[in-house]
């Protein structure tokens, strides 16, 4: 929120956190699509972009159906002094965020990446360009940053090709999708993506938002931006439910899912509900061999921003224990307005090892960076 902004620089590095941290959700943007993305995009698609633009399954050419709470959904202090969108300057991001918060590992999750475009060929070309750009403009410029392989996920074959192209490249730590897919993620059309991720040893991050075309609630479109934002949690629940109930984790035991920016406290009640329903409907689900909560415990990680804030921290502690402390990954969502500041996070009291793993170790383990 921008009621009051404060400027901190690397000189007054936050002493209360002290720890080096991993930030598992940072959003980089190009300063200019023409200058930064076009070099990696075939002429045909450059021309397509000039003529038709990025057509998503949403009403407007220029922005989201629900206007954001802030310009560009960003912190007002995150605009680079040299100009450009928040999150578009690797140097400024380093000083304004990575240095200040002692970020040792920053995971880049590009959002205007071509994902969810109506035209899947264009989506594939654009994702590929954005993936190249993550190396040229980010990971090669600051060793703390790692990229995500953006997938044109509505087409599994094109996605598999992109995963295979990037497999083994240390610039990337995960593959990347958006939660609001056009069909539930457990369905068969997406299965080749999971096999390819497992084969490439890439966790699959699934981030809030997306353009699947279905209303964002099962009762139709809501009225407000706040409902759109809160609703990512329900979309994430539907995603986890589908992956479990379709038997994806039984079929692809190497698959690791990271739920990004969709909250986390909903996970235990979802697991309890799925267990109860699974127990009573075993004959419909012969492919789901174990209680759903076990697959969830083994295969689901979650980033914590925007951090849930009950009145009592002990309530949150219960929830985090039920999820498993080893499955929670700290994230800030820099440069967005609902940024979680690591120094001010209302984290329940835990021992030092748990705290260190929460802020860093869990991410290093998940991404194989120890």
């Amino acid at each position: 929120m921008n009621v009051k902004t404060e400027t901190r620089t690397s000189a007054d590095v936050n002493q209360s956190a002290k720890l080096a941290i991993a930030d598992c959700d940072i959003h980089p943007s190009p300063k200019s699509v023409e200058k930064e993305i076009y070099p990696y995009l075939e002429k045909r698609w450059q021309k397509h972009n000039e003529t038709y633009g990025l057509l998503l399954r949403q009403p407007y050419q220029n922005g989201p159906a629900y206007p954001k709470g802030q310009p560009d959904a960003s912190r007002r202090d995150a605009y680079p002094p040299e100009g450009g969108r928040p999150g578009s300057d690797v140097k400024f991001m380093g000083e304004h965020h990575l240095d200040v918060h002692n970020v040792q590992l920053g995971v880049l999750n590009p959002l205007k990446s071509g994902q969810g475009l109506q035209n899947v060929d264009f989506a594939a070309a654009y994702c590929r360009a954005v993936n190249d750009w993550q190396i040229s403009h980010w990971t090669s410029q600051d060793a703390r940053l790692k990229g995500s392989v953006c997938l044109p996920y509505e087409d599994a074959a094109l996605s598999v090709a992109e995963i295979e192209r990037r497999a083994g490249d240390p610039n990337y730590v995960q593959a990347f999708m958006l939660i609001r897919t056009s069909e539930p993620m457990g369905q068969r059309r997406y299965w080749p993506i999971y096999d390819a991720c497992a084969a490439a040893n890439l966790p699959l991050a699934v981030h809030a938002f997306g353009f699947g075309g279905s209303p964002s609630t099962s009762s139709g479109w809501p009225s407000y931006y706040i409902e759109d934002m809160v609703g990512h949690a329900q979309s994430a629940q539907a995603m986890v439910m589908s992956l479990v109930m379709e038997g994806v984790f039984e079929r692809t035991p190497g698959l690791k899912i990271v739920v990004v920016e969709a909250g986390f406290a909903w996970l235990p009640p979802l697991a309890w509900r799925l267990d109860r329903i699974w127990e009573k409907n075993r004959d419909e689900l012969p492919h789901v061999k174990r209680p759903p909560s076990e697959y969830i415990r083994d295969h689901i990680w979650l980033t914590t921003q925007p951090f849930e804030e009950p009145d009592r921290r002990s309530h949150l502690k219960d929830t985090m224990e039920w999820i498993g402390w080893d499955k929670l990954l700290f994230a800030t969502d820099y440069p967005h307005w609902d940024f979680d500041d690591p120094a001010r996070l209302p984290l329940p009291k835990v021992n030092d090892a748990t705290r260190e793993n929460f802020f860093l170790g869990n991410a290093l383990d998940l991404y194989g960076l120890r």
């Binding site: 709470g69 939660i179 609001r180 897919t181 056009s182 069909e183 539930p184 993620m185 457990g186 369905q187 279905s214 209303p215 964002s216 609630t217 099962s218 009762s219 139709g220 809501p222 009225s223 407000y224 931006y225 706040i226 409902e227 934002m229 809160v230 949690a233 329900q234 979309s235 539907a238 995603m239 439910m241 589908s242 109930m245 909250g263 406290a265 909903w266 009640p269 979802l270 309890w272 509900r273 799925l274 109860r276 329903i277 699974w278 009573k280 409907n281 004959d283 419909e284 689900l285 925007p306 951090f307 849930e308 804030e309 009950p310 009145d311 309530h315 949150l316 219960d318 307005w337 609902d338």
Partner: protein, 355 residues
């Protein structure tokens, strides 16, 4: 398990329309003729496939036909079985699923008159919810007005997934009528199937349809709160039926977090959603999506910061538990007492008139 003490009030049970023939006497000539002439099929929702495990508990399932159609069995199995003093009937015949609003209105009237004559007149422990056609809120309000004089109707019944999120102002005539008559709005699991049951499309399995109800209740609460229903109707109570309840605290945390950041968008929401929920939202106890240990249930109960939100229900004849295991482990005797008797009486003012 904590036993259900005698005198509990069962806030969700389901007498079923055996078939459309049983309803025919309650239609006017035009609609009776239309139904026969057109051979209208049964309005059984896909939410409850007739032979699916959770639709009827094995020992409550008749050899043939639907569960919940027999008053004698309901007396023995549900009322005597749990020694309930009162029980609220929520008829799930698929009136809300019709696309033709006049037809839905006719069906709603028939179901309500059938309920009064075939159940309420015959069994003094029964109460019922008014079935309405949400397809047309003006008709719905008229149906509430028509029946509100019968004090055995204690609530208005809606399904959680309708054409639009239930907070939308299109529905406000319904809430206005309900508030005027001191009737809570009961929002039951189920869908009019205008949209896929998940925000990411249609799932493959019935089990997923069941599980997805919880997310629908969450977005519905978001809608009711953000649109300002409880600011406009300060006396209104909403009862979530067959909703599960374990998800409520964490959903309120998340809605509350964003309310802090985005309250300028919804200035009529002048306090934390959890506070609004404590005053206006109630949830029935079955199905219970609770952790496996009593200790964890006890901790979960504290997350509600209130002992007034949960209401006893058996969900008869749906299969949510076996034997008389109607309450989860981990409830204190005092909380069980609140859930089984005090909270229902506080939620439904009309119940006090007969207890």
């Amino acid at each position: 398990m904590p036993a259900v003490a005698p005198g509990a009030i069962d806030c969700d049970l389901h007498p079923a329309v055996p078939n459309v023939k049983a309803l025919l006497p309650y239609f006017d000539d035009h609609w009776r003729d239309m139904i026969v002439q057109r051979g209208v099929h049964e309005l059984d929702s896909i939410s409850y496939p007739n032979n699916a495990p959770m639709t009827a508990r094995p020992d409550w399932k008749p050899e043939t036909g639907k569960a919940g159609v027999d008053l004698d069995r309901l007396r023995v199995e549900a009322l005597d079985g749990f020694q309930t003093s009162l029980a609220i009937c929520n008829c799930l015949y698929g009136v809300q699923l019709l696309y033709t609003e006049d037809m839905a209105y006719a069906y709603a009237r028939a179901v309500n008159d059938w309920m009064a004559a075939e159940w309420l007149d015959k069994e003094p422990r029964l109460r019922a919810s008014i079935v309405i056609p949400p397809q047309n809120p003006v008709y719905a309000a008229a149906e509430i007005d028509r029946l509100a004089g019968d004090r055995r109707f204690v609530q208005v019944l809606m399904l959680v997934m309708d054409e639009m999120p239930l907070g939308r102002r299109r529905y406000w005539p319904i809430y206005k009528a309900a508030e005027r008559h001191g009737l809570p709005i009961g929002i039951h699991a189920g869908s009019a199937y205008r949209h896929p049951v998940t925000p990411v499309g249609w799932p493959s399995y019935h089990a997923e349809d069941s599980a997805a109800q919880a997310q629908a209740f969450q977005t519905t609460l978001s809608s009711l709160m953000t649109e300002g229903v409880f600011a406009e109707f300060p006396e209104l109570k909403v009862v979530l039926l067959e909703s599960g309840f374990a998800w409520l605290p964490s959903h309120m945390w998340r809605l509350g977090k964003f309310w802090r950041g985005l309250r300028m968008e919804i200035p009529w929401v002048d306090r934390h959603p959890m506070e609004i929920a404590k005053d206006h939202v109630r949830l029935t106890i079955n199905p219970r999506d609770v952790p496996p240990s009593a200790d964890a249930v006890e901790r979960l109960m504290k997350h509600f910061e209130s002992d007034e939100m949960l209401l006893f229900s058996t969900d008869y004849p749906h299969w949510q538990f076996d034997g008389d295991d109607a309450l989860p482990e981990g409830l204190s005797p005092a909380l069980a007492q609140k859930i089984c008797q005090d909270n229902p009486l506080a939620t439904y003012p009309r119940l006090k008139e007969t207890v």
